[in-house]
């Protein structure tokens, strides 16, 4: 599991690659923590190369969303595969996040 954070067109983009399972969650949470300090920019989580997300992974996404909303910013999720989409659908998180 790798996490890369970069700035693109005035937005912060986190690119996730691999399986965001329970074991990988703590490391990913740490890697994504700089997003919590971002001011005045929307956030895009690029999941194009993310194969799976666990409930621990969803907790990280949710924490980022809540933090951003408090600051009046948006969080978008980009490029989820069918597998991950199913998880977002079942958990109802598909209604909470915005997708692009």
């Amino acid at each position: 599991m790798t996490t890369t954070i970069q700035e693109q067109d005035g937005k912060m983009v986190a690119i996730l690659k691999g399986c965001l399972d329970t074991a990988a969650a703590p490391e990913t949470e740490k890697a994504m923590s700089p997003l919590n300090d971002v001011e005045g920019k929307d956030i895009i989580i690029d999941c194009t190369e993310m194969e799976y997300i666990s409930s621990a992974g969803l907790r990280i996404f949710l924490a980022i969303l809540q933090n951003a909303e408090e600051k009046g910013r948006q969080v978008y999720i980009k490029g989820i595969n069918d597998n991950v989409r199913t998880i977002f659908t079942i958990t109802g998180f598909i209604n909470i996040f915005k997708f692009m």
Binding site: S55, L65, I90, T91, G92, F93, N95
Partner: protein
């Protein structure tokens, strides 16, 4: 300076050492949690090292016939309990009485009959759970029946010499002094009379027994049902935390587990997010928890309510009571390592029948509190090891009633009859019965050895030695003279006075120790008055077993204290009048059955 050249208040140096040792010993027993067998051994060591007792006297307790009989009887009783005799009696005798008075009679008589041959503690421990279920069936509060249960075992115990250790100790000392052995049924008639008066008194004074809800009633719904609710994917609380949704503690229960699609979270932290498809497991009262369907939009899981039997596959819920002297008293489970050490989680605490509202792990525990634990179903709890802290009531393997039930009963009856008819002395009879129990496989050698309670034997042996010290140092004689000075020379008044003191002392120390300590005093007093000590000692036997007024007066009281949801004062309220009634009955019947005879 010799021990006899120092005299103060009529007692010599050795007598003062003995008095100081006895007082120190009982203070240590009352106020610390040191093991009683160790305390008694320490006391013997002091008396031996200071020269109060020589080696022969100091270790006489260990070779005392009565102590050996008690040890051997543990094996005989193991044979009876492992072949289901108790269960048979329970099944056939309790029945479905129509009134409280009949219920008391149907309970107290079989319990007394059993206790006259078996250990009182064994009988009460077995009956506690049965009486609780029975009281539910009868619609009577268990607190109305559990004190009578404990009293019946005490009163039944005195009906034979083998029924209770103080009887054996006193009769053993009597045999040592006079060379005549008491008949094993010597106390039967006085004991039965006192039991009869006791049963009538309980019925007459039933208003003094508290009417208290069973402590587990507070857990009843929690321990019997768990409710599982499903969070629909479009539920408005999805993405919110448990705390934000306000479902950690709900009216009537609490959330004990969240099952996400890939993970089970338990205990559930407040920050845990709710996800669609989650299954929320609540413990509590079903109807009130099911209100959450309406208020929060949760739906029934496909398998929404399951009973304990089903829950058992995933978890085990166990109820335990905090014992007297438990190291958990005044501590909170949250601040101790108890849960970690024993792989259990505390789910709820109840005190005197009411659920404690605080977070259970933050409750400062008291003696008698009822605790509900959750642990994995595979975990087998070592209830023996935890018994000094918590009293678990197990749904123990109930032995099957079969031909061996009859065999063990026959062996027991043969033992009593042969020794009562003086065909074979009691000690030999007990050995033969124990061997017969083993040969007939009424209990396995392991069960037999496990049944012998060495700690208790050590305390008994220690009690005998203390009695010897009290006698040898002249304390008994001085006290006897003192009592005669105060009470005059009327033997019945002297007998009553000593029994009165013994009845109250035995509330605070073990019945056996009281028996061993009062034996020499009673014996000397009778001899000084010029009467045969036998009736005096029969009266003493009944007195030292008549500890009704405090829950610490007898181990059987402690067994019923928590399950009955009692307070300390409950025992005082009914126990004080009982002490006096039984004392009067005792003195009356002993003098009728065994009229005083002058010494030859």
């Amino acid at each position: 300076m010799g021990a006899d050249s120092f005299i103060f208040l009529g007692f010599n140096f050795h007598a003062w050492i003995t008095i100081a040792t006895v007082l120190a010993m009982f203070s240590v027993l009352l106020f610390t949690k040191l093991r009683p067998d160790l305390v008694f051994l320490g006391a013997i060591a002091i008396l031996f090292v200071t020269g109060v007792l020589d080696a022969k006297a100091a270790f006489s307790g260990f070779s005392s016939t009565s102590v050996v009989v008690i040890g051997v009887l543990f094996v005989v009783v193991a044979g009876l309990t492992h072949t289901g005799v108790l269960q048979w009696i329970v099944k056939h005798l309790l029945g479905q009485p129509k009134s409280y008075s009949t219920a008391v009679v149907r309970l107290m008589l079989p319990v007394a009959a059993l206790s006259s041959f078996l250990s009182n503690t064994t009988v009460v421990a077995l009956f506690v759970n049965i009486v609780k279920m029975w009281s539910k069936k009868l619609g009577v509060s268990p607190s109305k029946l559990l004190i009578p249960l404990s009293y019946a075992s005490g009163m039944g115990g005195v009906c034979t010499l083998i029924g209770t250790p103080p009887n054996l100790i006193i009769s053993g000392l009597y045999a040592d002094h006079t060379g005549t052995a008491m008949n094993v049924l010597a106390t039967t008639i006085p004991g039965l009379f006192c039991l009869f008066i006791g049963v009538l008194s309980i019925i007459a004074m039933r208003r003094l027994l508290p009417d208290r809800k069973a402590p587990e009633a507070a857990f009843e719904d929690t321990s019997e049902y768990t409710v599982e609710l499903l969070v629909p994917s479009d539920n408005p609380y999805v993405g919110k935390t448990i705390a934000q949704a306000g479902i950690t503690e709900v009216h009537g229960g609490r959330l004990i587990e969240v099952i996400h699609f890939d993970e089970v979270v338990s205990p559930v932290p407040d920050k845990e997010p709710i996800m669609g498809g989650d299954r929320l497991v609540f413990a509590g009262q079903i109807d009130e928890i099911l209100d959450l369907k309406e208020s929060h939009g949760f739906v029934n899981a496909d398998h929404h309510v399951f009973t304990m039997d089903e829950v058992d596959q995933n978890r085990q819920l166990r109820t335990a009571y905090v014992t007297f002297g438990s190291s958990l008293i005044n501590t909170t489970i949250g601040h101790s390592t108890f849960e970690k050490d024993n792989n259990m989680t505390l789910v709820a605490v109840a005190r005197r029948g009411k659920r404690v509202e605080e977070s259970p792990r933050e409750v400062k525990l008291q003696a008698g509190d009822t605790l509900l634990f959750e642990c994995s179903p595979q975990l087998s709890i070592d209830t023996d090891q935890l018994s000094s802290q918590l009293q678990f009531f197990d749904s123990e393997q109930v032995p099957n009633i079969g031909p061996k039930t009859l065999v063990s009963t026959t062996i027991m009856i043969a033992m009593v009859v042969l020794s009562a008819l003086k065909v074979i002395p009691l000690l030999q009879c007990a050995f033969l019965a124990a061997i017969a129990m083993l040969l007939c496989r009424c209990c396995s050698p392991n069960q037999a050895m496990k049944a012998i309670n060495w700690n208790i034997l050590m305390v008994f042996a220690g009690s005998v030695v203390l009695g010897v010290a009290i006698q040898n140092t002249g304390i008994a004689e001085r006290l006897a003279y003192g009592i005669l000075d105060v009470c005059g020379t009327n033997p019945i008044i002297v007998m009553t006075a000593i029994c009165f003191v013994a009845t109250f002392i035995t509330e605070f120390i073990s019945n056996t120790a009281a028996g061993a300590m009062f034996f020499p005093i009673m014996y000397e007093a009778a001899v000084q008055l010029g009467y045969e000590p036998f009736p005096f000692l029969i009266a003493l036997m009944i007195s030292v077993s008549s500890s009704f007024a405090t829950p610490i007066g007898s181990p059987t009281h402690m067994l019923v204290y928590a399950p009955g949801g009692y307070r300390f004062s409950d025992f005082i309220r009914i126990g004080l009048p009982m002490n006096l009634i039984i004392l009067a009955a005792n003195i009356f019947i002993v003098n009728v059955v065994y009229p005083l005879t002058p010494l030859q």
